[in-house]
Every structure is written in C-alpha cells, then in structure tokens.
C-alpha cells in the first residue's frame, strides 16, 4: 500500500498500539490501526493515528490504575498505606529536625534520607516479596528466621550483643527487616513450617539477645494465636514467650546511642515542643495498620500493628532504636517492608481480575493479533 510521508508515519504509529494496549484489548488495537487505511487524507490519517496513540496510552493507564484500585478494593487497604506513608514521613521529618537542632553528624540525615528514597523506589519489588511470602510462607519464614540465627551466631558482636550486619558504613539490625516476614508468613498460613520458623526466630532473638524484638515477635504471635487458637500457633507463641523471658534474663549492656536510642529524652533536652513532636511521630507509626479493613487478613494486620507498637514502646522504655524518627536504616526498611508484605497475593488478584472479565494472561494470537500484524508498513 502506498501513501505519503504522513500516511506512512501514521502506519508506523499504528504498529505501536498492540504493544501499548493490554492483550485482551488487542482487537481494539487492530481496530484503530486498520481504520487508518480508510481515512481520506494522509494528514487526517496522521492526526487519527496520533489521537489513537493517546487513546491507547490512556486505556493502558486506566487498566493499570484500575487494577491497583481493585487491589485496594479487594483487600480493603483503602487509605491505610497512604496513612502509613504519611506517618513515616512525619516521623522522618521529626527526626530530621532533632538531628538538625541536635547537631547530629550529617551522615545520619543522609543515611535516613537515602534509605527512605531506596524504600520508596524498591516498594514495587518488595510487594513481589509479599506475593512470595503469601505463596510460600514456610520457606520465606525459614529464610527470615535463618537470617536472625546467622546474625546471632556469626554476626559481629558488640559487648556480647549480636544484632547487626554491616553493609558498608551502615549497620543493619536484621530483626527489624526479618520480623515483618515472620509475621506475614505466620499469618498467611498456619503451617508447621511457618510456626517452626517463628520459634527459630524467637530463639535467635533470645541468643542475640534482643529483648525488644523478642517482645515484638511475642506480641505479634500472641495476637495470631488468639485469632484462631490453633495449637501450632499457641505453641509458637509460648516459645516466643520463653525466648523473651530468656532475653530478659541476660544482661543488655548496650548504652544509649545519641540520635538512635532514647531520642525523646534527647529532644526534651533541646526543648519540650520538640520532645512532644518526636514522641507523637513515633506513637503514630502503628496506627495506620489499624485502618486496614480487610476482614480476611485482620489477624495478620493486627499482628503487624502489635509488632510496631512494641517496637515503639521499647524505644520509649529502653535503649532500643527509635523507629524512623531516630537514625537508622533498619527501621525505615522494616516499616516499608511491613506495608509491602501486606499487599494481596498476585494470584488472588489475577483470579479476581479474571472473574471480572480482565485477563492477566496474554491472549493467544488470534484474529485481532493477526490483523494487527497486517497493518501495512
């Protein structure tokens, strides 16, 4: 088929439609592309093609956003993740103000800022970890517990305490990242593997020792065990209680690290309003979890809230990291991971989208795709 420059440009644009639109809308991609051949003038054909290109982009965007909204509608997370993001932002800002007024090393602010950006950028990938955790909870839980055990047994020890791994200049407290995995895995499926992993993780926390995180895991498991009173979960919760007791039985010689531990008291030394701001910022962190209305995952969400309530309480009561408001990449990553892991399973989303008429699977090459391939070059 011949045509002027504009017609050929229109055809070239038309060949992109099939790549932009979802597979189940391939027929419409072909419809727009082939209609170009019936437009009267070349100039009009180009305008037609450009309009259809915009339509394809808008349709694709609607599908992507619509799928996200369906996710939220199905899980009823609603505004909760945004509230979590706001709470995190508030805590980070309060902490940044404390660091600025308290003359903290600039690297503290930089680490918190860069970690926050990393957490935001990596969030979509982290949601896939949520899919994996929901699909293979035992395996993911064992991985998290194994990481805790490795740190306890082989990690660098500071005054007899082994909770961290070094990533360059930054020390990561592994438990703040591993415990969200344990909570989601234990909540996803009541299996021997997941419960065993929780017990292993609790034992590792006792060995480290880490009273705060041992209590946090206990709080989460207690809620999960109370939700269905299953023997396996109750046993795991009891083992967590034993581990917490063992952790408390050991000395915890760690002194408060400025801008990490006891930051409310540190802020009070600068000014009461700052102390109130920092305290309020940390107290708000667990609340967004309570906004999630998903009845099917209520126990898991509440367990996650209990985890973060305990982490925040520990920061007020002892020399334990102040989450997000204090210096430390671990809590920032752990908090972001907590939200990412609570995302619904991709499998569920795919099945529900399929029921509503949207298909995730690529459509087989049918007449529409063959017609699209027939768009003249």
């Amino acid at each position: 088929m011949s045509g002027g420059v504009q017609r050929r440009a229109a055809r070239a644009i038309a060949r992109s439609f099939a790549g932009i639109l979802p597979p189940d809308q391939a027929e419409w991609a072909a419809a727009m592309a082939l209609e170009i051949e019936h437009v009267d003038s070349d100039g009009e054909a180009l305008r037609f093609a450009l309009g259809c290109l915009g339509a394809a982009v808008v349709l694709r965007a609607r599908r992507t956003i619509g799928a996200g909204k369906e996710d939220q509608a199905m899980t009823r997370m609603g505004l909760a993740p945004w509230a979590g993001l706001a709470a995190a932002g508030f805590a980070l800002t309060a902490g940044a103000l404390l660091m600025h007024l308290g003359d903290a090393p600039r690297s503290f602010l930089a680490v918190n800022l860069l970690t926050s950006l990393l957490a935001l950028l990596a969030f979509p990938f982290a949601r896939r970890l949520g899919d994996a955790t929901a699909a293979w909870p035992g395996m993911m839980a064992l991985g998290a517990a194994g990481a805790l055990a490795l740190v306890a047994l082989l990690g660098p020890s500071l005054d007899g305490v082994a909770r961290w791994v070094r990533l360059g200049p930054v020390a990561i407290q592994v438990s703040l990242v591993a415990l969200p995995f344990l909570v989601v895995a234990a909540g996803a499926r009541n299996s021997a593997a997941a419960n065993s992993a929780v017990a292993l993780g609790a034992a590792a926390l006792a060995l480290q020792p880490d009273r705060a995180m041992a209590c946090a895991l206990l709080a989460a498991m207690a809620l999960l065990a109370a939700s269905n009173r299953d023997r396996g979960r109750i046993a795991a919760a009891l083992l967590c209680a034993g581990a917490a007791a063992a952790a408390f039985a050991q000395a915890d010689p760690m002194p408060a690290v400025p801008f990490v531990d006891g930051i409310v008291a540190q802020a009070a030394g600068i000014g009461t309003p700052l102390a109130i701001l920092v305290a309020a910022a940390m107290l708000l962190l667990p609340l967004p979890f309570l906004l999630v209305r998903d009845a099917g995952r209520r126990a898991t969400v509440r367990a996650m809230a209990a985890l973060w309530v305990t982490v925040v309480a520990a920061a007020f009561l002892g020399n334990y990291p102040s989450p997000l408001a204090g210096y430390g990449a671990s809590a920032i990553l752990g908090y972001a991971l907590s939200w990412a892991l609570l995302r619904p399973r991709t499998g569920e989303r795919g099945r529900r989208l399929a029921k509503s008429g949207h298909s995730k699977a690529p459509a087989p090459r049918g007449p529409a795709q063959r017609r699209q391939a027939a768009v003249p070059g």
């Binding site: 088929m1 809308q25 027929e27 419409w28 072909a30 419809a31 727009m32 082939l34 209609e35 051949e37 019936h38 437009v39 305008r47 037609f48 093609a49 450009l50 309009g51 259809c52 290109l53 915009g54 339509a55 808008v58 349709l59 008429g357 007449p367 017609r371 027939a374 768009v375 003249p376």
Partner: protein
C-alpha cells in the same frame, strides 16, 4: 440504567438513528466531530457495557484491510431513550436579568 455521559450519548444517538446498520469508526468520527483519541475509548467502554456490539467486516474494496464495525444494542437504545427522557425533564434555564436593572 444511569444516563451515559455526553459523548457516549452522542455516539449512541448516532448509532440509534439506524439501529440495524453497522458503522465504522472513521464514519462516526466525521459524524460526531469527536477526535479518534476520544472516540475509541468510548467505543470500548460502550462495548464492555454491552450498549453497542462490534465485529469485523471485510472491506468491499480489493486490497483494503478489514474494518471494525459497530452497531447499537437493545440496551444501548434504552440508554439513549433514558438520556433523552432525562434531558426532557431538566428545567428550562432562567433568563439572566438584562444589564442595568
């Protein structure tokens, strides 16, 4: 069934003029004055809502590719009727007072 938006109503009204007739996208574009970027998303949405149906038609001219054609359904005719009824019920606008009063 709720009233469809303005552009959708225009498309349905056009197809409703001759309900048995299949029409093509470019023809509808010229008749309604809508841009292709507006027209096709609406056609897709109307088809998903079962207010119109779509099918491929071979071109009568040799060497020309097939065309996607559209026709209004019974549900689409009802939607047009509902839209017209809703328009008929809207109160007439009050004339603005003349300047100077």
């Amino acid at each position: 069934m709720g009233r469809p938006p303005k552009h959708s109503t225009a498309i349905l009204a056009l197809l409703g003029e001759r309900p048995a007739q299949w029409r093509h996208g470019y023809d509808m574009l010229k008749a309604t004055g809508l841009a292709s970027g507006t027209l096709y998303p609406l056609l897709l949405r109307l088809a998903e809502a079962k207010l119109i149906e779509a099918r491929w038609q071979d071109s009568p001219m040799a060497g020309r590719p097939p065309r996607h054609a559209y026709r209004i359904t019974a549900a689409g005719l009802q939607a047009v009727a509902a839209a017209r009824a809703g328009t008929a019920r809207e109160p007439a606008r009050r004339p603005l007072p003349a300047a100077g009063r």
